[in-house]
């Protein structure tokens, strides 16, 4: 299988110590990859490097386009990178407030990317917005409500709809379930699982919640002190952890 996004030797350090170093990573179409690790292990830095929000100190990043061409994102023009970020990629933030436009309605939030790509028919945009609200299990009668009138879990689902509306091939998620209570978390995870299997897109999730990883991820990367210390299929890593840190991580999940 050919990777959609490949990083080789990605390095970005802050003050010469924190950050991440020498990361090799491949994201495949239709596969959910999870990065787990403790706070400060470099998870978010890696996510920002892969999603072009940070420039690496060293290393390169390759992306396979729709027509099979392999492009070096480090050399791609800013126009190409921005087009990629608003059409073929999505980014779901930990806090929905950072990923939503706060002062405009749910419908406008969902339509923004379509309009940035040139859609100019209000009726069609609105129909698409309503359709996507249905897909993420939001009451489509609330298409004109402001995000702040939605609950935390609903805001997160709105954010997901807003990112998926352009039919991206790759979705980045930064702790998508943190800050939600457990029952809402479960519903969101259920929704994510359904959507990913339906859409067949590549997803990269950063989380410190092993439960999220076990439920959603096909593949797991364990990070510590800026390096990937263990990688493999999710069941393999969680059921038979090789590194002492991974063993500690798995055993520290509280049994219910």
């Amino acid at each position: 299988m050919t990777a959609l996004l490949s990083g080789r030797g990605l390095t970005r350090m802050f003050d010469g110590k924190n950050g991440c170093a020498q990361i090799d990573i491949d994201l495949h179409p239709g596969e959910v990859t999870c990065i787990v690790g403790e706070s400060g292990s470099g998870k978010t830095t890696l996510l920002n490097l892969l999603s072009l929000q940070l420039r690496p100190d060293a290393g390169s990043l390759y992306y396979r386009t729709d027509d099979g061409a392999r492009i070096d994102l480090g050399l791609a023009s800013e126009i190409d990178r921005r087009r990629l970020m608003r059409t073929e990629w999505g980014f779901v933030r930990q806090n929905p407030r950072d990923g939503l436009l706060r002062d405009v309605s749910a419908g406008a939030n969902i339509s923004e990317r379509l309009m940035a790509n040139g859609a100019r028919h209000y009726g069609a945009l609105r129909d698409t917005a309503i359709d996507w609200m249905r897909k993420v299990e939001l009451d489509h009668g609330r298409v004109d409500d402001l995000p702040r009138d939605f609950s935390g879990g609903m805001q997160q689902r709105l954010q997901i709809a807003r990112n998926l509306v352009t039919g991206p091939r790759l979705l980045f998620m930064d702790e998508p379930t943190a800050g939600l209570d457990v029952s809402v978390q479960a519903r969101l995870l259920d929704l994510l699982r359904t959507l990913t299997s339906q859409l067949g897109i590549a997803i990269l999730i950063v989380t410190h919640d092993i439960g999220v990883a076990r439920l959603l991820a096909h593949r797991l990367l364990v990070m510590r002190r800026g390096r990937i210390i263990e990688t493999g299929l999710t069941d393999q890593v969680l059921d038979d952890p090789q590194q002492p840190y991974t063993q500690m991580l798995v055993s520290s999940v509280l049994p219910v």
């Binding site: 608003r86 309009m115 100019r120």
Partner: protein, 309 residues
Amino acid sequence: MKSPCQWNETVTLPSKNDAVFRNGDYNFAYLDEQTKRMIRRALLKAVAIPGYQVPFAAREMPLPYGWGTGGIQLTAALIGPRDVLKVIDQGADDTTNAVNIRSFFERMTDVATTTLVQEATLIQTRHRIPETPLRADQILIYQVPLPDPVSRLEPRGTERANMHAFGDYGLINVKLYEDIAQHGSVAMAFDYPVIVNGRYLASPSPIPKFDNPKLHMNPALQLFGAGRERRIYAIPPFTSVRSLDFDDHPFTIQPWDESCALCGAPDSFLEEMTVDDRGNRQHICSDSDYCAQRRATQPAHVRHQEAMP
């Protein structure tokens, strides 16, 4: 009254002994020559890239920000001794802002001034485009408070610069979408954003959207000066200017049921005025020159007929 400056005419620059310098305390047109040169350079760049906001080092002017410091600097940089100046504010020649800016230039340049659009070579305006069509040998200078239409939506200047650089105008369309969703139509009645020459998003300054169609393919050179925000931009003659809209909600201008109570004009931009202590109101042309010229050329019974259809 001096004759309007012609394109093919040789312009002789004023020398120190000329009458225009007799107000010895100030340079011709108030600004020093270095500043005028800086502004002219910015203007050339603005004309070369229609709709692009060119930064310039705006000077302190003897009037407060928001009263036309941008427009007055452009006028000062462009005006020559043989220009004929018209200044309007909300369409009228006799409002405070217009009267004071006009008298400022009378004192600082000694140029002829006029209220007639067809006589003017330079027109500085706030909030209106004259109803009388402009010619290719005229320059219209707008006073602009907020040059960037997305400044209310995106507070980061660096990100706005990127949006313009990459033509990434999704955000302003979100505003249009939201207006239709909340109000049923686009709620912006003035300062209605436009795309200049199919490329740059620009603010037309706070003119009513009624005037937006006049921006399109106008024979006159249109220059925009924002003093506080330190930006200059331009719409060169005969440039396409498209008001933002949706395919199923096309751009429209506001209609009136009334005609002007003074000149009977059925097609000009009207202002509703309270005319007595009993709350009686009349609709009157906001363009005072257009209204006066119509009244001067038409017999009274014709005006009456037009006003009462």
